[in-house]
Amino acid sequence: MSSAQTDLREDFLVLDNVTQHFDLGRHLFSRKSKGVVKAVDGISLTIKQGEILGIVGESGCGKTTLSRTIMQLLRPTSGQIFLEGKELSALSDADIRAERINFQMIFQDPYASLNPRLTVFTTLSEAIGRRHPDLRGEDLRARVIELMRTVGLNPAQMNRYPHEFSGGQRQRVAIARALAPEPKLVIADEPVSALDVSIQSQILNLLKRLSSEMGLTMIFVSHDLSVVRYIADRIAVMYRGQIIEMGTAEAIVDDPRHIYTQALMSAIPQPDPKLERERERILLEDEPPGARKAEDDLEVAELEEVVPGHFVSTRSFDRRVKVAADA
């Protein structure tokens, strides 16, 4: 996928061989390196305008680090990130700050992601001011009201503080804040996993509606394949910092090719007792301890296109697998 520079600039968002390594520091006396954690290890992908890409993986697979790297909250150790042809990874800190209004993030915990001391109005008007610094008074208020309606909040509650809202409502405020600077790309990091099932579907509906109405490009990060299946056009499955399989949502869910994706799929409990009794499961052994240190360097994943648009990693898989008909 990494080809000439001109190609990289064509798509909406392009990641070329992006890595994010964390140095664990050195031992106090021996000065030997404690090693490097390769949280994101050579990821290349492209996203088209208006597309929703789902990123799935277990905790610790690097999906959250990847989303923070795309957001430039962490600068990549190596590799390039292009948004509409502009190389974000090469911008200075000051330029990045100006560019930030084009890509926004929705966080996992609606209790932690809003400043408890600011009203909804202040939070939103501050964010709107990033795109429209001259908006004041009634115009600003009108924009806040419009934004609150868009995400299904009652504008009469604009002077309330975050703690006066329920979890689902707070997540709506967080979504409104992400939309306020009129971004082109929104990254949602586990936006529904802290919410109750019935609230989850409300937020998923909202995100889906927003992306189709506003033509938003979205990266939806989650550990829950059943949620990602519903919202994403394409899914990338991550394992130990690399993409192990990528394809359309249907292809990944209906025809998973990599054993790890199959194991993930087979672990999702079905809300149907008879299906559950017959479910064939692929069990994975636990990772060997300390596996993500640099010592046992992994080969960089080569993705092979098995069916047009459906990529599977050729990397050897290091967890033992057993198939159980019924537990």
């Binding site: 109750d196 998923l204 509906n205």
Partner: protein, 341 residues
Amino acid sequence: MPLLDVRNLSTSFHLRSGIVRAAQNISLTLEKGETLGIVGESGSGKSVTCYSILQLIPQPPGRIESGEVLFEGRDLLKLSESEMRSIRGKRISMIFQDPMTSLNPYLRISTQLIEAIRVHDNMDEDAALKKAITALEEVGIPDAASRVRSYPHEFSGGMRQRVMIAMALVNDPDLLIADEPTTALDVTVQAQVLDIIKERQRRLGTAVILVTHDLGVVAGTCDKVQVMYAGQVVESGTTDQVFYNPQHAYTRSLQKAIPSLQAKNEALYTIAGTPPDLSKPVLGCAFYPRCPFPKVKDQDGPAPELTELSGGHCVRDCGYCDRTKPIETVLAQDVVAEETP
């Protein structure tokens, strides 16, 4: 005689803002080797029920108002605190939701396990350590003999939850209460944890109460289900009865709201509104304001009773809604602003 027979258990919290009726008139029975699933949203009273059985409700502000908790025929609510202590962790044990905070971070796993054993069994340190290692091996912790000396932070989330289970099972309890044991875990780890519980059950006939909000987990693990809403049981029965012939509007809405059961290009079904404020008296059916198929405009009659339909399948039928109607997805529903708590 059933192993556990809870009759009309009611628990409330007396707060400055009023009395919150967190669990009202809960009844349940559990035989040896059975698994009961308790399903509901947060605040539905499912955890309060479990804590009440073990009398782990902080009192005050909590108060067990009425009811009986018969464990092998003995009413646990009448026992003294010291008698209760000899039951907790020995005959009935509990697994909590958060494996990160349920273990003492300053003590080695071995210390914590040995303590759990020696509180109930008069055995020497070495024998207790051996038993602890066996318990860790049983829950699938590799290299248990050396890892028993580790501290909690040296384990991953899934491993820590296994340690919690090992600790809960180390004294071979007759009843295991698991409060959302897999909610914080990845699906792959969740499957492993549920397998450990099932395996144990098959081998020793342990009875299990599994509290969860995930209908998928219930379908694969439980023999019986109770669906709770606003502090009440709204439907109960065998897993097949409740899954294939759901009667209460809430059960049906909950089932309908599972994302994995819905087609990709349709809006997800959502339950409008929010649960009622339990500090105010609820008139009639608690779910009525959110009911997708009501027959009448308003209802304020007496609270409906839990009645048996057939073969142990009970439902709290208010008679105000049309139970035969299919639930339809309401497209514009994500516009509805939730009411504030």
